[in-house]
C-alpha cells in the first residue's frame, strides 16, 4: 500500500512538473550545473593528482635520490680561467653509503652523458646512462627483450649496452637490435637487451623534479645503458662546457646515486644520515637530496587542498541552485493556494500537503542530479580528449554529488512545503 501511495505521489508530482515544463527545466539547470561541476572539477583534480602521484611513485617511495648539482658561482674558488671545476657525487660517496647506512638495500650510482649514437648510416641523440646491474631494482625499467647489464659486464668494463624502445624505433626501425652494434663516441657497443621507455616527469607545481646536469633532454631521443665502469673508462670524468667567452673543464664522477631502503618508515631517518655524510665530505653544496616519499606526501596534501577549494566552489553553485528551487517552489505554492485549500477541505492533512510539494522538489533535484551526473561525466572525457590532461571520475564524487543534490532538494523544498501546509484552508479557498 505504501509503495502504491509513493507511486501515486510521484506520478502526481511529475504531472505537475510536466505542466510547467519550462519553469521546471530552468529550475533544474541550477542543480545540473552544480552537480556536474562538482563531478567534473573533482575528476580533473583527481586525474592530475593521480598522474603526479604515479610519476612520483615510479621513483620509489623507499628511494632517496642524491643528485649532483653545479654549485653556485660564489662557492667556486676563484682561480685561473683554465682551472678544472671539480664537483658532484663521487664513487667514494657511493661506497660510503653502502658501508655506513644501516639496512640499505641497494645503492645505484648513475653517470649520465649526452651523446650521439650511430647505427649503419643513421644517428640520433641519446643519453648514455652508465650504471650498475641492479639499476633495474630501483628504476621503473622493464626488460622487454634480452637482459640487462650483468656483474661480468661491470667487472670487465664490457662494451655492451641496453637500449630503450625509443632508440629501437628511431635508430633500428625494423631491424632486430639484439646482438647488433651501435657506435657512440668512437666506441662500439653490442646491444644485449631492450627496455621499456621511462617517461620523464612533466612539470607541475610543487612536485617538479630537477633535471640532472649534463643532460640535454631536448636533444636526446632515448637512453642507452652501459656498465658504469665502461662509462668511466671510455668517457672519463671530464667534460668541456663551452661558451662564447671561452669555457671551462668540469670533472664530475657521478650524476646521481639512488639509495633504496628497506621500508618507507626509515626513509626520513636515512635521509638525515645521508645529509650528514654528504655535508661532512663535501665542502661545496654540489649535491641535492630528493625524497620521493616527501614529494608524494606533498602531492597528497596539495590534492587535498585542491579538492577542498574545488569542492567549495561547486558547493556554492549547488547552494545557488537550491535557492533557485526554493524560489520557484514558493511561487508555485502561491499560485496553487486555492488548490491547497480545496485539498485540505477534501481531507488532506498538513502532512499530505508537505509530501505533495516536497515530492515535486525532490523530483526536480533528483532529475537535475541525474542529468548533472551525465553531464559531469562527459565533461572530463572531452577535457582529456582535447587537452590530453588526464582525468579520473571517482565513484565517491558521483555519490557525493547525487547525495548533496537530494539533500539540497529536501532542504530547500521543506520551507515552501511547510508554508503550503500551514496555510489556513478558509483563507486559501477565498484566494483568487
Amino acid at each position: 500500500m505504501n509503495y502504491e501511495l509513493l507511486q501515486r505521489t510521484l506520478k502526481m508530482g511529475s504531472r505537475s512538473l510536466w505542466n510547467h515544463r519550462l519553469r521546471s527545466t530552468l529550475t533544474t539547470l541550477g542543480i545540473i550545473f552544480g552537480v556536474s561541476s562538482v563531478i567534473a572539477m573533482l575528476a580533473i583534480g583527481e586525474g592530475a593528482s593521480r598522474e603526479a602521484q604515479l610519476q612520483i611513485a615510479k621513483l620509489g617511495s623507499t628511494n632517496i635520490i642524491v643528485k649532483t648539482v653545479k654549485p653556485p658561482e660564489n662557492q667556486i674558488a676563484t682561480g685561473k680561467q683554465n682551472s678544472i671545476l671539480d664537483y658532484g657525487l663521487t664513487y667514494d660517496d657511493a661506497t660510503r653509503f653502502r658501508e655506513v647506512i644501516p639496512n640499505v638495500q641497494v645503492v645505484v650510482p648513475v653517470r649520465r652523458i649526452s651523446q650521439q649514437a650511430w647505427y649503419r648510416n643513421r644517428k640520433i641523440g641519446i643519453e648514455v646512462i652508465g650504471t650498475v646491474p641492479w639499476y633495474t631494482e630501483m628504476a621503473p625499467v622493464h626488460v622487454r627483450q634480452g637482459h640487462f647489464l650483468t656483474d661480468i659486464d661491470l667487472r670487465h668494463q664490457q662494451g655492451v649496452c641496453v637500449i630503450d624502445e625509443n632508440v629501437v624505433k628511431n635508430l633500428f626501425m625494423f631491424d632486430d637490435p639484439l646482438d647488433q652494434y651501435i657506435k657512440i663516441a668512437g666506441n662500439y657497443y653490442r646491444v644485449i637487451g631492450i627496455v621499456s621507455s621511462f617517461q620523464g616527469i612533466k612539470a607541475g607545481g610543487a612536485f617538479e623534479l630537477q633535471p640532472s646536469p649534463a643532460v640535454n633532454t631536448a636533444s636526446s631521443i632515448g637512453s642507452v645503458y652501459i656498465p658504469l665502469t665502461a662509462a668511466k673508462a671510455r668517457f672519463g670524468e671530464f667534460t668541456f662546457q663551452g661558451g662564447a667567452s671561452g669555457g671551462r673543464v668540469e670533472k664530475v664522477e657521478l650524476q646521481e646515486i639512488t639509495v633504496k631502503v628497506a621500508s618507507s618508515d626509515q626513509v626520513l631517518m636515512i635521509r638525515d644520515i645521508i645529509e650528514g655524510i654528504m655535508s661532512r665530505f663535501h665542502k661545496k653544496k654540489d649535491y641535492q637530496i630528493e625524497v620521493p616519499l616527501e614529494l608524494l606526501r606533498q602531492a597528497a596534501q596539495t590534492k587535498r587542498i585542491f579538492s577542498i577549494v574545488l569542492g567549495s566552489i561547486a558547493a556554492i553553485s549547488l547552494l545557488v541552485g537550491g535557492i533557485g528551487i526554493m524560489n520557484i517552489m514558493l511561487a508555485s505554492v502561491s499560485e496553487r493556494t486555492r488548490e491547497i485549500g480545496v485539498r485540505r477541505a477534501l481531507g488532506a492533512t498538513r502532512h499530505d500537503i508537505i509530501i505533495q510539494f516536497l515530492s515535486e522538489t525532490v523530483l526536480l533535484t533528483l532529475m537535475g542530479g541525474i542529468l548533472g551526473i551525465i553531464l559531469g561525466s562527459l565533461i572530463p572525457y572531452f577535457v582529456t580528449l582535447f587537452s590530453g590532461m588526464p582525468t579520473a571520475i571517482t565513484f565517491i564524487s558521483l555519490i557525493l554529488a547525487f547525495g548533496i543534490s537530494a539533500a539540497v532538494g529536501i532542504a530547500f523544498g521543506l520551507y515552501p512545503a511547510y508554508r503550503a501546509a500551514h496555510m489556513d484552508p478558509i483563507e486559501s479557498l477565498r484566494h483568487e
Partner: protein, 236 residues
Amino acid sequence: MSSDAAVQPARPIVLMEHLCKSYSFGSSQLPALQEIDLVFEQGQYIAIMGPSGSGKSTLLNLLGCLDKPTSGSYWLGGEDVSKLDDDRLSRIRGQRIGFIFQSYNLIAQLDVIENIEVPMYYQNYPQRRSFRRAVQLAAMVGLSDRLRHRPCELSGGQQQRVAIARALANDPLIILGDEPTGNLDSHSGADILGILDNLHKQGKTLIIVTHDQNVAARAQRVIHLLDGRVEKEVYN
C-alpha cells in the same frame, strides 16, 4: 443509503449547542455567530439563508470543520468535533463531509475520474477500488462519456456535477453546499438541483447555503440568519 430513513427513529446528525464564533482584530472582538443552537436529523434537506454579514459563511465553515468555534460545542455524527486538533479535523472532513463550492473548485490538472478520486486518495483507498467507485459516481451524475476530460473542457454545469460526485466519494454523513447554483445559468442550475433532490430521496443529509429562493423552495427546512443569530425557521 436506502430510504428507510422514515422508518428508523431519526438521530441528530448535527447538534450545535450554544455555538459562538468571534474573530479578534488586535484588541477588539468581532462576533460573527452568537448562541447558535441547531439540531439536524439524518436525511434532512436544509437551506441556510440570510443577507451578507449574517454569518452564513462562518456557520458553513464551522459545519464543515474548516474552523473551530470560540465557545459551545458541535457534535457531528455523535462526536464532539469542536475541540479536535488539525489532523483529526482533516480526517473528519475527509470521511464525513462532502463539499460543493460555488466555483466548483475542481483541480485543473486532473481529469474527471482523478478529481472524483481525490477524497479517496487522502483516505488511502486502494487504487482499483477508488477507480471503480469514481466510475460509478461519474455515471450517477451522467458523465460516463467524459471520464478523461479536464475541467477546462467541461461546462459549468458539468463541472458542478463532477464536484457533486467528488463530494459523495467517501459516503459522507453530510453534504455541504455553498451557493452550488450561484455560477450557473437557470438551466444548468435546475439540473444540479435535480441531482440534489435525488440525493435527498436517497436519504442523504443536505445542508445548502444559498441566496436562491428556488433552492430554498426545494428544502425541507429553511433557516434564516440575521446578525449572527437564527432569525427564523421555515418548514416547507
